[in-house]
Amino acid sequence: MTEKQLLKGSVALAQGAIDAGCRYYFGYPITPQNDIPEYLSAALPAVGGVFIQAESELASINMVLGAAASGKMAMTSSSGPGISLMQEGLSYLAGSELPAVVVNITRSGPGLGGIAPTQGDYMQATRGGGHGDYRLIVLAPNSAQEMYDLAGEAFRLAFKYRNPAMILGDAILGQMKEPVMLREALSPPQNSPWALSGAKDRQPRLVKSLYLKDGEMTVHNLKLLDKYKALQEKEVKVEIDCPTRCDLIVVAFGSCSRIARTAVDRACLQGLKVGLVRPISLFPFPEKAVREEAQKAGRVLVVEMNTGQMLEDVKLACNGNSEVYFKSYPGGAVPTPEEIEKEIEVIVGKGGLRHVNSS
């Protein structure tokens, strides 16, 4: 593949999964992510894979669990309400240390909500989402190319750390078409030493998350914690574009970061000194990058398509040492570059009256 193809984000992601070696998809229809199962229902059987339209998201995630327990690359995709139903399975996947990829092309909520682009599931994604003490690996693409690339990266990380990974997108990223460069396809993984395959010429293996004996669960929790620490040390992904002297950094992720990008560029053309920090991995969160850039600039503007979720991680990173402003677009509202640009001007130009938290 040497030529770019114009692909819809959802299709790019689905093909990215296949090219990473994924051969198993289990899912249940929900708008706005249906392009993914529709594409895979034809594309997976064509490469000898399996596509099942399950009876529910509960069944989908547990089919993923079964395939993952077999050492296979398996995935599902859904949106808000369906992802809520999958939380049980995600908790089991994390507890059982199984690799899998779950895609959330979000809807606004709570409840049935709306289908317009939103980032209201940030908390659910980055805090684990289900019961118990665990984290998901969470990646947030902002282009069709990244939908493709991060699908593969999500599988790589999921298998490396034996932990479920989530790709957090929205209707903009799912529906938008952009040129995508495909890479050489990888083969599916073979014979993982933990995978269930039948106890032929070896001791039986067990995939479980139940630890009832004294102290067992604590040991397990600490083992999981080590994994999350390793992720924090080694796997942070962040795009930083800040001038040396900077009066404000804008922090935004996903589709919102694209719009922020344009706004920051325009502000810079006006002569304002504004930078952009884009977390690509939401867990592990680029805490260090945000802290350092925020400290240099002294002021941070967080823009999110929700009522303030990543905002909390930014505040934690800043730890009271920078002024943190927030611009909110909840419920399917999408900012225009002009709006964010205006916000930047207000903060940099006139000083911040709208800050939500200052040191």
Binding site: A54, G66, S70, G198, A199, K200
Partner: protein, 249 residues
């Protein structure tokens, strides 16, 4: 005759580990485990069998069967089994589920696994009560039966009628085998063994889902002695849950 010349006529199944069962006296889970182990040995499946364990008293199956095992969330065993079987078609996948697991929280998963004609085997233990959680009403609790959540006895209108799983699953086209057996006497155990083989055979021949429902006793939560439990099973449970083969390929 020397000892060496003696012919061995009885042994513990090779697939059964030496671990002592944790089950209460008079519980039939141990018997069902043994039947499963015997059947695994009969078909020489121990090197390709993968057990999918539901949530309930059977959750420690992996301590007793020497096969690969995977835990599943409550009720979701048929979905987990689907994922395993589809991604590893050469494996032999068997779920072990209780009545709360399969007939309450997991009704959707079992019905749709059967409906997709998944070639998996379901061992379904019906003891008419939630055992592990402490004797609450199950979907299979008999009318009038007292449980910790039906202190006045189950009232069908309001609490629900007992669900006849074997019959229900037999109506689905994707089901290859569905039978209900009991394991409270030698005669019943012999019938159960045959039915277990058919439930395995259905998967071996890729005919679709095979389900064996085993009526069994839970003396602890029935508040009975093992002997009383056997009498209750014979006198009351079989009336509500008639024994028989409801579908055979």
């Amino acid at each position: 005759m020397s000892i060496a010349a003696k012919k061995r006529v009885f042994a513990s199944p090779a697939s059964l580990t030496d671990n002592k069962f944790h089950f209460c006296p008079g519980c039939h889970h141990g018997l069902v485990h043994r039947l499963a182990a015997e059947t695994i040995d009969y078909y020489d499946l121990s090197s390709k069998a993968i057990g999918v364990i539901g949530v309930g008293c059977g959750v420690f199956l992996y301590d007793y069967l020497a096969i690969d095992c995977c835990e599943s969330p409550h009720g979701r065993a048929p979905a987990v089994a689907t994922g395993i079987k589809r991604s590893n078609p050469d494996s032999f996948v068997v779920t072990y589920q209780g009545d709360g697991d399969l007939a309450a929280i997991g009704t959707s998963e079992i019905i749709h696994a059967a409906n997709r004609q998944e070639s998996i085997t379901i061992i379904f233990v019906n003891n008419s009560v939630y055992g592990m959680t402490g004797g609450q009403m199950a979907p299979t609790t008999l009318p009038g039966q007292k449980t910790t959540t039906t202190p006045a006895g189950r009232q069908p209108v309001g609490d629900g009628y007992p669900i006849n799983v074997a019959e229900l699953i037999s109506t689905l086209k994707g089901t290859a085998f569905a039978a209900r057996v009991a394991c409270h006497s030698h005669t019943h155990i012999r019938t159960a063994r045959k039915a277990m083989r058919r439930a395995f055979q259905a998967q071996i021949e890729k005919r679709g889902l095979g389900l064996i429902e085993l009526l069994s006793a839970c003396p602890t939560n029935w508040r009975m002695t093992p002997q009383q439990s056997v009498r209750r099973l014979e006198a009351e449970m079989i009336n509500t849950f008639p024994l028989g083969t409801y579908k055979d390929f």
